[in-house]
Every structure is written in C-alpha cells, then in structure tokens.
Symmetry: D3
Subunit: 252 residues, 6 copies
C-alpha cells in the first residue's frame, strides 16, 4: 500500500487500525560498470513496497538521494550533506507524526546512509519526546532501521549464491535485484570488466575512493548477477522485513 | 532517459553531447476526495520522463516531497520546510553540477513549490557564479522552472475539456493524468462528493485551509476526471516541455 | 503612525483597538541610470507610511535590504540570501506577535522579494499555528503581501501615464514616486541614456543580467519620470492599500 | 551622502576615491515613558548621516532592528536573535565588499548590539581573509564599531548636561537627540514619571528586566531631556565620529 | 605530548616532522550506580594521552561532551545535538588543518558518538577535498576513528577478565580504567546494586532507556571493576592505538 | 566537586540542596613565546575547580576551545566560529537545565569569548523563559559571566606584582598561574624574547594580528612570570569567585 497511491481519506482510515509506516530510503550513486546509478534507491523503494504488501502496511515516498559523498568522483552520483539528510529524514517523520503515525520502519538500500539515519533518529527522539524522565511505558515515537540485505535468510542466500564474490559495493546481489525488477535495463558489456578491485582497506574522500576502486566496484563480481538470483533475494528480503515490521509495529 | 536507470559510464557519455538535465519536482499532499496523495509528485515525475524521451535528455530523480504546509490538516500530506526544500534543491543541482551539468530544467507538479524553487535558484546563482561583473556571455549555470499545466497548448486543452470546472487544487486535469497513468488506482465513490468548494479568497494556515475547503478541493469537479483526458494532457504537456527544454538547452 | 515614533505605552494602547500592523519591505539595488539605489525601500517605506495615515494603523520599521542577487553586478546593490531574509521576516513578525499583533500587512516595493516573503509566510503559519486540524474559525495569525504598484487603480494610472514605456525594472513610475518624495535627489544626465534595453527574455545570475541590461533598466524610459506622476501614483497606491488593509484587518 | 539616495554610477565613482563606508545600526525597543521606540535606530541613522556629511563619505542603509531580547516585555519592542543579527551584519558587509568596499565603520545606537556586532566581525575576518599567516601589511577588510555617545567630547558634554541623572537606558541624552531631530514627536506627560528606577544590579530575561525597571528606564531622568541638549550632542558626536572615520579610512 | 601543554613554536616544530594528530572524544553521561559521569571523556582523554606518549605524537584537547541523548533521563548527563557535534568536530579539524595537520586520529570513548563522528568525516572530506576526480594519490586529509576498547588485544583482555559480565554500558572494563586513573574517586556502595539489567533489545528515547535500564547499566556487573584490570586495559589499549596511529600517519 | 567525577545519583542528591552550577570556559590558542597553548582553558578549568571546592558546588566540564579567530596565524591555535560557540554554550546549559539546574556561573579564561558568551545568554533567556511579561519574581534561569582575573582583589594583586608590564595577551599573570599549576611545563628560553610588542591600537584579522604582534604577546613581559605569583593569583581568584558564586546562587 503506497501512500502516494491513496486518498487522504484512505490514509485516515488506515490510522484507525495501525500507526506504523514503512519508509524506504536509498541513494543515487555509481554502482560499477553494469550497475544502475539508482540501484540503492530502487532496491529500497521496491523491497519496501513488497514488504508493505506482505504486512498490509502503508509505504511512504522513498528518500531517493542519500549520503554518497565518497562516490562523487563518478559521474551521475548525487549526494545530500549529512546535515541536510538529517533534516530531510526528520521532516519526513515529523510530517507523518503530525497525522498520528508513531512507528517508523526504515528500509534502507545504502550502507552509507546508516550513520546519518541514526543521527536523525537521535534528534527526533530528543525533540518529539518531551517528558524527560520516563513516566509512561510506551515511547512517543519509535524508529527502526533495517538494511534489506542483512536479514539472516537473505544474507544466507547471498552467501550461498555468490560467496565472497558478492563484494562490498556494486554487489552481485543488489545488481541481481535490479535485473529482476527492470529486465529492460540489464546492462551489457560486462565482459569488459577486469578482475574485481580488492576489498581490503578503507578510503577517505571521493578522489581517494576512485583511485582505489577505478571502476567503482569494491570486490564484487557483478557479471555473475542474474534476474533469478534477484527474484529470490527480493522475495526473501520482503518476507523477512515484513515479519520484522509486524513485530516492531506491535511492540510496546 | 532516467538517470537512475543508467550506469555511471552512460551518464559520462551523455555529458559529451549535452550538459542539460531535467529535474522533476512535486509534492505529497491531499488531493481531495478521489485524488491520490502523490498526484503532484507522480505528474511531475512521469511527465518529466516523457519529456526526456521526446528530447533525448536525462531525467534526474524526482523531488517527491515539496512545500505543502497548507495541506497538513489533511491526513497523509507531507511537507518540507521552505528552508529545507531550498537546501534539497541546491544539493540536487550542486551534485549534478559537480559532474559538469550546467542547465537545469525543472518540471514542477505543484504550485505551492514555486516560491521555494525560485528562492533556491537565487541562492544557486549567487554561490555558483563567482565573477560578479559580467565577463563571458554564457552564464555558468542556468535554471528554468516550468509547471507542466501551463504551456499554452496544455492550458488550452484544459480549458476546452473542463472550463472553469477544473478548479485550483485537486483539479480535474491532474487527476485525469494520474487516472491515465495508474488505471489500477482510479478511486471510486466520487458520487459522494458535494458541490465544489468555492474558489474565491485565499487562506492562511493549514487549519484555515481545511475550514474553507473541507474535502480538500478548491473549486474543482474531479468526478469529471477521466483517463482519456489525462492521456491528452500528458502527451501535450510532454510535447510542449520537450520543445521548451530543447530551446533552453541550446540557449547561450 | 510609525512604530518607531511612538512610546511603548502608545503601542500598548493601540493594541486595545487593533491587532493589525503594516510592514514595509523593499530593496537596496541599482535602478538604472537615474534611479536611486534605495528606490524600492523608499517606495515601500513611504507608501506604507501614507497607508498607515489613511488607515489609522501602525507601520513597523522597513526591511530595507531584500533579495537582489541578480543586481549584484551593479555597484551599490545589496542583498540578503533568501534563507536569511526568511529569518528576518519571521523575526519581524514574531517580535510583533509576541505583543499581540496577529495581522501582518506587508507593503512591498520589490518584485524580487515576492518568492522569499511567501516562503517566510509559510514557515510562520507552520510554526505559529499549532492546532493541526482546524478547530476555531479565526486563524492565529494572517499575513498578506501587497506590491504597491499592483492595485487596479494604481496600475491603470501607470498604463495611462507611461504605457508600455514603463518597463519592468527601474520603471518610470517608481522613479517618479522617488522624484516626488525627494525633489532634492532628482538625478540629472538622463539625456545620456540610450534606448531602453529590451524587455524580452529572462536572465540567470548577476553577470547575465548585466550583460543583457547594461545600464540596469529593463525596458523602461525613466527620462519620462516626473514628480507630478509620482504624486498621483503615491496617492493612489496609498488609497488603495489603505482600503485593502482595512478589509484585511477586519476579516475573520 | 546616503547610499540609497545615489545612483549606482555615483556609487561606482565614489569607490575610485574611497573604499570606506559608514554603516548605521540601532534597535527598535522601548525607551521608557517618553522615549520613542525607534530611539536607537534613529540616533544611529541620523548621527551616521551627519557623520557622512562631515567626512564626505557614503552611509549605508541602517540596520534598524537589533538585539533587544531583554526589552521584549514592553509592547512594541522588536528583536533579532543574535545568530540572525550576525547573518544580517555579515551580508550587509559582504554585499558592499563585493563591490570593493573594504573599510566598514559602524555607528551604533544600542549598547545591547555590541556583543553581536563583534561576533559578526570575527566571522567576517575569518571568512573574508584567507591567507592565514600574514603576508601583506594591509588587512583585506577592517571593521570598526563606535557607539555615538562614547566619544570623549560627547561623553563630557553628557556629564556636564545631565551628570549621573543621564542613567543607563532611555537616557536623557538620547531622548534629547530625538527631540531635536523630531520636534513633532516630543512626548508630553512626562510629569507622570515617578523617580527613576535604580541603576544597581543586572538583570536576566525580559520578565526580570520589567520587574526591576517597571517603566523601562534604568536610572534616567528623561523629563530633563530637551532639544537644545540634543542638538549639542548630535553635533559633537558627528564631529567626533567624522574624525575617527577619517583616521580609520586612512589607516594601513 | 598534549597540545595545550606546548607553546605555539613547539607545535610549529612538531609539524616539520609529522602532520598527524590524535583527537580524543568522549561523553559526559550517566554510567550506572558506581560509574563516573565523565567515564567516556576521561577514558578517551587519558588513553589518547598515553597513546601520544607511546607514539611521540601531539594530542589535541578532548571533545568532552558528545551525543548522549538517550541518557538524558539520568541526572548529570549532558549532550550535544548530532548536528552541533558535527560542527564541533569539523571546526576542531579545520582549526588544526589550517596549520598544516592532515591526518586526524580520533580516539573515542563512547559508542553513541560513532554515527555522528562518521557523518562529520564525510562533510570534512567533501569540503576539504576539492578536486572531484582523483588526481594525486595522497588524500588531502584523512580521518580515522578508533574506539579504545575494540583493539583485538584489548578486547581479548576484556573477555578474559569479565566475559559476558562486562555488559554494554557502564561496562566493568571502562569503570576499571577510571578506578585505575582516579583512585580517589572509586565509588562505594556497589553492594546495593541488584542484578544487571538485561542486555536484550534496543531502546528509543531517554524515557524508554530509563524504563528498561532503571539504574543506567546495560548488562554489566560493575562491582567487579577493579584498578588492576583498569591498568591492564589502559596499557593494552594505548599500545594498540599507538601502533595503529603510527601506521595511519605513515599511510599514503 | 567535578561533575565528571560524580555518579548520576550524586548529582541528583546535589540538586536537592542547590540548583547552581559552575561552568568553566577557556580557549586553546597561542600565548606568546613561553605560554602554553592551553593557558586560557587550563586557567578557566582549574580556577573553576578551586572555586567549586570553596563554594561546595558542582563544576561542569570545561569548554576548552573558544573564539580565537584572531590567533589563527600562530600554529596550534584552535577556534570555533561564534555561531558554533553559541550553540555549544546553549546546549551545555540546556543539558544541565533539563535536570533542574537554573543558575549558571561561567568562569571564563579568555577575553575573546566574552561577546559570544553574552550572545548565547541572550538566546538562552529568550528560549528558556516563555512568559513574556513578568509574572513571578524569580527568573527561570540566570547566567553570570566572570573573568577570573577581574575580581578587585585579584586585579589589585596583578597590578602590585606586575604593574603595566602584565600586558593584554599572554600576560605575566596567566602564565604565572599555569607555571604554578604545571611545574613540569614551565618553558625555558625566555631570555630569547625581545622587548614586548606595544599595547597600542587594535587589530583586525589573524594576519593583521601577527603582523602587529609577531611573537604573539601584547605588551606583556612573561619572563617575569613565576609560580609564586601564580599561586597567589590562583588562590585570590578562587576566593573571590567563590564569594561571587555564593551570592549569585542565593539571589532571587
């Protein structure tokens, strides 16, 4: 159930049975030689939608540009500053909280967003909860962050399908999901990829990232990506997330 | 051509022939008894996409939540503060300008965004153009704002199809476009709508808006909306915008 | 009645009979070969003062620097960033609202301020009005923006006096008003002006503006400006605005 | 020479002989039983104007609302937050620096502004001067703050005229200056004032200020204010400030 | 070598042989029944100091208040908002970078700071590194975050000493370190502690945290803390961090 | 009594007998040829601690980096922007106010902080005190700023010990205090100092400061600094501040 496909009266009716909402968040950034720039936003948005269908829950509009500073040396990458992304996440939640939503389940498609999302949650808790010392047992608002690829079943499937060849960025698994979702946008030319860039060590700024990972990948073998693997991961992730959401929505 | 459906190398190749990009922007807010909460974001996004196809131009990710403070008394409406939306628009442009884009053509789906978009343009011009007094003839960056419903042909068609019954918010025409785009989400129950709220006078805050326009519409007759009208308007708007974009991209 | 020419006790007494206040806002920016840099601030301030006299209303201090980024390639122009101007407008209103004023009638002298003023109003409505869904019928605060040159009688007189030769910036009419108000500051040398810069097309940043309009004017013939025309426009505008203000102050 | 009474070409011509400018700053706040709400802004603006005439220097538009939080319990007082006032002062200076001004001489009418003005100067020095360690001998920009009442001759005259009866707020001397400048706005009813509020001790917030100084004065005897004293102080202050300005403008 | 115990000339001399600096960061927040409010700041500061001695490196002043919103229901806890802490971290680094430091090694004493520190690093990389696409091989600046308790040897010692009884907040190990460092401030009364609060599950806001962990601990047995364990951990952590710092400082 | 050396329960117990707290604030900046970079922070922190011991009062963590923009041309100096320091001071106070503290006594070690501290106090008064016009007699919060060197007895001792040779920056007296507190960090080589830089005139930015005061001192003779003088000043300052604090804490 997508918020933007409902009337306001339908949203009002939903709030009579549930105050929990799913919020997809992703990123628009390079994903290696054959990955889509929108991979993280698309995975976040579509897996969140499938989660909402399984859990009979409303899904808010996706936050489609995230924190991708370190990818900015690759054309097409977009980023918000962390402090701007904090504001955006807060106003997304504040808008929905204004109507009575109080449980916010973020489905995230981008590891680089995690620190900023958590910082936003802390500011929200400070500003939305006024009591100070705890009287009631039920928090005024609760926010939960889940990365779609980290549920135990999804993660096990990734390991089974791709092992260590999945890598850390522009992974086989996320590219598989987009190949399943958008068969018209499977990119050719993957035979031109060299061996994967090594996965060891970190990086600092965007120039350093590009110097270390010249085609954008970190340790992945995305020519192994395939729609069948994508379908399996997409279904597993949505199943796991729906179960997590249901528990979260019911929790006191 | 959607940015998020391209690889970074494809975006890089595009920049060799054009530095102009289309940016869709909308809003997530109540649209009366049978309008979708996402009407403005969906119209902005899909008409921008069609414009990009006609003009062979890249379309950036949509800014799907805009400035909708005055709709916040209706459940499901979302809003960014004007100062936050200024930041978002600026960082959208700055990210793309970082890669060499310098012509930004905004396709807007929401009248309430206009003031904020223009304020953002002013800050961008100040910060991105450093010379002060004009040396070269070609501006460093240029931004253009177009509302999809205001091209002369599109506007004439709206008048022919719906006359004054189109109204000012939750218009027959925008609801027609979403009915054409999303036939599975045409909402029933329109027979329950009373006569349209009057179009006279303004409003102040969200409570005042709701008191004056209790079902969310301003002067529209959205039970007249229909997919055929939507298709016509969608095609006309994309045609007109593609022509405007092409002129804008070529302008010195 | 000027706020800064009253004692605090006199302001307190005023609030017992009215909670409405007039706020002048202008700009400090180039106005072509013979226009004063302060034209917009002076027109805003003095027409607001005359409005206050006719309507027996308090006039707040003028906001004398506005949003004039696009004029910054001409010496002497000053500007606030849109986001700073939003803060200034908000704190002007918040200060007065703190004492019980709740109707704010802005008399504006500069077209370039319009978007920013409206953005500020939206933030004020959000922050000053807390109810959410509308209970009472009377909004907590109301803000109204009027440009002094756009009342129907004033506009008709401009057309009668100057026709299309009035132009869009450094207009015959605004320069006439300052010539009427400040006869000691009528600038000579207008014979040196060439033909008016064309009125077609827009502009982007300050350098682009100067390249297109090299002496600062847009389409005006300011050598036709004269104090008699200025007096007529000044009186008409104040009459119209006083009537509008009275209606605004009384409106529920 | 008032910036707002000049054409842009006249400002450009001025810059060929001087890069120094006078900036008046004041406040809009209660000034006791017979003082004008605009006392500080008016004193700042008019004494700056007289200074500019003596020194043949440009005077920028006045910053007419300052930092007056502690006066907000008296009707009509207005205030900017310190952090907003910092932005305003910075953008005033940045606008003028953009055109080549580099010496900014602030004539201040309000003691409560001092801390904020100095904080703004520090941010300006940091952002406008990039070298780090000192190469050249001439600073890129220089800012100077002068309170009109603190020159030695002006101060001596205040002591001679009013002694300790001048007080600390709503002083005899500043009210005298406004009585000289605005003879039509000399307020009657001063016989109703009781003995002056004591000058000892400080205060915290606005409510505390009002509790301690119920009619707004601190230690002053404003019924002694008179236009003749005002004229003397106004002339003395302008003379002293013009001399200080000339030295400041010439200093390496 | 503590920055604040050096003269400016000594710092200048240091920069000739190294551009790397250690930055301690902690928090001021409740640490259960017998833990000091300053535990995290003290551990960060003193272990950083010992690291600097081993590595012959400068240690900057400690950031002693961090992000501790979730502890605010316990008296004495202090917190900065994430967006303020981002500014503080950035200006700490920018100040030192101004003098030529370019390698910043953060020694952190508080898990709750991690997300905010990483967000600050991203903004620093964006703003301090201007090239965009990578030319040189050496990043302009590099920042590294290390939590003192997570080096492999330190962590192994914690497990050996306290096993799972160490808990997650107000841990046996951190309280041991402060008991070793400040023998005069070992708190009695630990016999009054009941069984440890469970370690399962998360929390939302401060009130929720207190409801779940009523004496502030999460799963720890701090009555087992002792100065001997503290000394061992302190030495091990400093050894490990000095080695990590040396590698970081040398890394291209 | 140092906040960071207490448990949360001990802080809670303190609040039952007093709601006043001492907050040390200093700076990290060059202090001439033989002064420590941390002089101001160390003096603030340690004199505040001694004050707390005499007055039986809690001392909060020190704000150890202040506003030192004008010292940034000397290696090792650190600074926060005024607007960031305002935020830090406010959140320090807000955190403590959250627990019930309402009297904040700042012991300051750096003249350059004064304007920013006072600006922060004004914002705190505005935001923490909501009533507007004064009802109750006791202010909600009160903040007091004291510079350690300005009590009458301390100041007299400085004059007796060093006369005019104390100077204005890197003073004999503050260096004496650090020599008393940190005998292991008394810097040699003072014979190399030339005559003191003159004390006349002001400065603008950091480069200008360094050009005028090439070794960092303003008018001081720090080779006269000695631990005995430091001890005397330290004791006197703590005595005076403790008396002032006690009066402040008791004041209605």
């Amino acid at each position: 159930m997508l918020l933007h496909m409902m009337t306001w009266a339908e949203v009002e009716a939903y709030l009579e049975r549930s105050t929990a909402v799913i919020v997809p968040i992703g990123s628009t950034e390079q994903h290696g030689p054959n990955g889509l720039v929108g991979t993280d936003a698309l995975c976040g948005e579509y897996i969140a939608k499938a989660t909402g269908e399984r859990a009979d829950a409303i899904v808010a509009p996706v936050i489609n540009v995230g924190m991708a500073q370190h990818h900015m040396a690759f054309t097409g990458s977009m980023t918000l500053k962390p402090s701007t992304l904090i504001l955006v996440i807060k106003e997304w939640v504040e808008s929905l909280a204004h109507h009575g939503f109080d449980r916010f389940f973020f489905v995230n498609g981008h590891g680089g967003n995690i620190t900023t999302i958590n910082a936003a949650f802390q500011e929200l808790y400070t500003e939305q909860s006024r009591e100070g010392t705890g009287g009631g047992n039920r928090p005024d608002i609760a926010c939960e962050l889940r990365n779609w690829w980290q549920g135990p079943k999804t993660n096990a499937a990734i390991r089974r399908l791709f092992g260590n060849r999945d890598g850390m960025h522009a992974t086989n698994s996320e590219i598989s999901v987009t190949q399943y979702l958008f068969p018209d946008h499977v990119k050719a030319g993957t035979e031109a990829m060299g061996p994967p860039s090594g996965v060891r060590g970190g990086w600092t700024d965007a120039a350093d990232y590009r110097a270390k990972f010249p085609d954008g990948r970190i340790g992945s073998h995305p020519w192994e990506a395939n729609p069948e693997a994508g379908k399996e991961l997409y279904e597993l992730a949505a199943d796991e997330l729906a179960e997590l959401f249901t528990g979260f929505a019911a929790r006191e």
